[in-house]
Amino acid sequence: MSQASEQHAQVISMAEQRAARSARGVADATPATDSRPRCGASTLDGRPCRNYAVDGGRCRVHALGSGSAGARGQSAPSQPMAPRPSTPAAAPFGGLGIAGGTGRNRVDRRRPSRASAPEPGHDEAFARAQQELQRRGYAGAIDGLAALRDVADDRWIDALRGMIAFLRRRVTGDYTVDEFGFDEDLTTHVLMPILRPMHQRYWRVGADGAEHIPTDGGGLIVANHAGTLPADALITRLDVFDQTGRHARELGADLVFRTPFIGEFARKTGATLASGDDADRLLASGELVAVWPEGYKGLGKHWRDRYKLQRFGRGGFVATALRAQVPIVPTAIVGSEEIYPMLFDMRIVSKVLGLPYFPMFAQMFALPVLGPFALLPLPSKWLIEYGEPIDTASMGPEVAEDAMALFDLTDQVRDRIQGMLHRNLMGRRSVFL
């Protein structure tokens, strides 16, 4: 039995063995061949290179770097299949490889046996190794996990477990959605993690005044809308979620809910129809609601109109907030205008397709050069500012019936947002930084 396991160990660790052999070879040989000249260059971490010099006082690796590597192809002692000039670089990684190395070594192992050396016993050893691999099954994956654990603590494992649990919930349908169709599980575990890199790295969203978002009870976030695609809505939602842990529920236009996939996605991520009924119901149940009252007029406005607030719908959102007696948080988003600068609106196409606008944006001119990459939004720097909340509780719900007061309040919200936009536009260094 011990013999078996010894043999077993031998076969398994072929990679390590080879690494050890080459290391031992160097170590053993060191006293004997010390007279041979060493490479004069220093390695990346500042220590002198320990390879033998082959050309002009440099080793093969460093000679390559200095540009005289033309016809040199002799084999180094540790690399039996030298013909590829890139293999020496693989040697240091082979030493490091805990699990990642196995794949590479397997490939390396196969190459010489087929191409060059019909060594006796080699094929046999290879076959045994293959057999062993088959028998051990997932051992490689386990080694990888163990290594991952050592490197990254239990966080990775926990994240992985979370992911598995999420998948199980999705497969078995074990999650709840609310009456509006909001699937919190999906939103928190899929939408938000997808958006987070966009938020943090791509648009580097800065947030200001997050303390103005109500942490409990109802609230109405009113923001400007821009950028051809409603990316600002998604990013603001993520920002609110990361700042307060609350999901802001969007109110969307009916076109959204008519469109396949998009309507489904919007409902599942918590949006609902921008109608008084739904908004009242959401606010009454103490939800945070986000609304973009400019709608398509804001989204699909020309580049020359950037940061000019459009008409705020019919001001229905103000009446809703008044009826529910919740604070209105005016919010200014700077940066979303520049993601798809809309140069002109192809009216004919939009009429045919039944869309509110069909944009020709700046990047489209780069389509022949960049291909699909031209359709990516531009990486502008964003700033979201949540303004001082407007208290509606002091006005009383009966104001919701007063049309004049509604107009005044709508204008007040609009002016606040426009003011914040101007201030933040003045304050920013450049569009992209």
Partner: protein, 355 residues
């Protein structure tokens, strides 16, 4: 009133009507139950007397008078044309039948209560729907054909009866999709097909009402004292996709242009009848507000939408292609695999079997 109510149930051969009749038989405050239908009921009824007649038949008026009926439960609205033998006959039976029944009720001096089993289909199904329909809402687009149109019209006639005879209490019960072990519904059809057809890119929000709740609500409407219009549905909402997953079945998303073609195929193969408004329902779904049911009517459904569906799946023996237990077991194994201990055990296992 001492001797109890005298109840007439139309459409007694229907499964739900049969259950309601049996439930009424148990009650002491119900003196007499008369069931009326064109087909003989298959369920065992004890006290209930059966009259074989169409509701368009003048015999109904005579029964109302002779038996001194004071409560009518109208439950004979056919949902699909195939059930009634063609759309024209369905319309005839549903609308004209209801009109004649109502006319008879208006003449009957003993009449005190009229209960209509209606449906939430009267709200239609549209992308611009409010998230939850309240009783005072109406459809975004009035139903143009089919069951929903019939029921909408019948509801209007019933209200008219309530206006003409102030002494008759009118109760309209709008049931969400009924699920249960004995009821046949479009959902049963949907989940007995090899794969569950869905509309690609749409995921309707659904609400279900368990048959036990439906019976309890009908009985309460017949014997209690809370006239009005009520939505009846279990709490909570399920997406169709979630239902498919809960049942462990597999969805087959069909692109919108081919949906009606597939529905026709299903109809031809006689596996079930899916009407055009149900196809629209598969796109947008419908959710109703049941606050009035719990607050004014005073009934809280025992089953939530989800438990109703799970009960339906269990009792109808809808077999899942994806077994829930095996998914759980697989997850547990993966968990174990992720633990260092698990890894060691796993390695030992592998070595042990390999040797």
């Amino acid at each position: 009133m001492a001797e109890g109510r005298r109840v007439l149930i139309t459409g007694i051969s229907g499964q739900l009507a049969g259950m309601v009749a049996r439930a009424l038989e148990q009650r002491d405050d119900v003196h007499e139950i008369i069931g009326i239908d064109v087909r003989e009921p298959h369920h065992e009824l004890q006290r209930t007397e059966f009259v074989r007649a169409d509701i368009r038949n003048p015999i109904v008026a005579r029964v109302l008078e002779a038996a001194a009926i004071d409560t009518v439960l109208h439950m004979s609205t056919a949902t699909t044309p195939s059930e009634a033998g063609g759309r024209a006959r369905m319309k005839e039976r549903n609308v004209i039948g209801a009109m004649q029944l109502l006319a008879a009720c208006q003449r009957a001096p003993t009449m005190r209560r009229f209960v209509l089993k209606s449906t939430t289909a009267v709200y239609g199904s549209d992308h611009a729907d409010p998230a939850l329909f309240r009783e005072e809402h109406s459809a975004q687009q009035p139903a143009k054909h089919g069951f929903a149109k019939d029921v909408t019209e019948v509801e209007a006639y019933v209200r008219a009866l309530g206006r003409r005879r102030k002494d008759i209490d009118v109760t309209l019960l709008r049931f969400a999709n009924l699920l249960g072990a004995r009821l046949d519904s479009a959902f049963h059809t949907l989940f007995t097909l090899p794969v569950v057809p869905t509309v690609l890119g749409f995921d309707p929000r659904l609400q279900f009402c368990h048959e036990d709740d439906a019976v309890a609500v009908m009985v309460r409407a017949a014997t209690g004292d809370q006239p009005g219009v009520y939505n009846v549905a279990g709490d909570g909402v399920l997406y169709l996709s979630q239902c498919v997953r809960l049942a462990g079945r597999i969805a087959a998303p069909i692109p919108l242009p081919f949906v009606s073609g597939v529905a026709n195929l299903v109809r031809r193969s006689r596996r079930g009848d899916i009407s055009p408004e149900q196809l629209r329902f598969l796109q947008f779904g419908r959710v109703v507000d049941t606050r009035q049911l719990t607050e004014d009517f005073g009934y809280t459904p025992a089953f939530t939408t989800r438990s109703a569906f799970e009960d339906f799946v269990r009792r109808r023996r809808i077999e899942g292609l994806v077994d829930r237990q095996s998914v759980d077991r697989f997850e547990q194994e993966l968990y174990g695999f992720l633990q260092r201990k698990g890894q060691e055990r796993f390695l030992d296992d592998q070595r042990g079997t390999g040797r």
